[in-house]
Symmetry: C2
Subunit: 105 residues, 2 copies
């Protein structure tokens, strides 16, 4: 699915229970219809130098930019973000219309 | 599609013609069967502070880790990487088995 993407890569603080964060995120995306799909992953084998301390990637897909904007302003997202921001050591966010250059067959 | 993901986020050097890089990448993924899907995007509106200079995200999907390993060792990838690495100012790579927490409907 192309659509509009919200990509978050993070390094969590050392004392953070990542499972709790994931549960909150799972609840968040299930509550907000504008989130059309959500997948995530943890890099456990990449080269440390290349991932520069980042360990987790979270990728949400929206139908379009309007869907993303609705998500960002949603009260559940605002509440979640406040908690999430206390858990992170480093973060990079990228938001972009996705270009599908090779489609899954 | 879940599978194994190869996520690359970059900031290109200032004098780089990104269109040329994209053409090379498009050729690369079309040449290598192990790449099941490929999408990318350019963040043109996110907050500079949150994207920390990174501008582009590239996301490739493989059936499994073996597919990814085949891609990495493929002569076309080795050749492309040599060129690509000269074009980048900053890069983060994350490779991970994807967990689909909300599927596209």
């Amino acid at each position: 699915m192309a659509g509009f993407k919200h990509l978050v890569i993070v390094k969590f603080k050392e004392d953070v229970v990542v499972e709790d964060i994931l549960k909150g995120m799972q609840k968040l995306v299930s509550e907000i219809d504008a989130v059309k799909s959500f997948e995530w992953g943890q890099d456990i084998e990449g080269e440390e130098m290349l991932r520069q301390g980042f360990t987790h990637a979270f990728l949400m897909t929206f139908e379009d930019k309007q869907g993303y904007t609705a998500f960002v302003g949603h009260p559940c997202h605002v509440e979640f973000s406040a908690t999430f921001s206390t858990a992170i050591d480093k973060i990079v966010l990228l938001d972009f219309p996705s270009v599908v250059a090779k489609a899954a067959t």
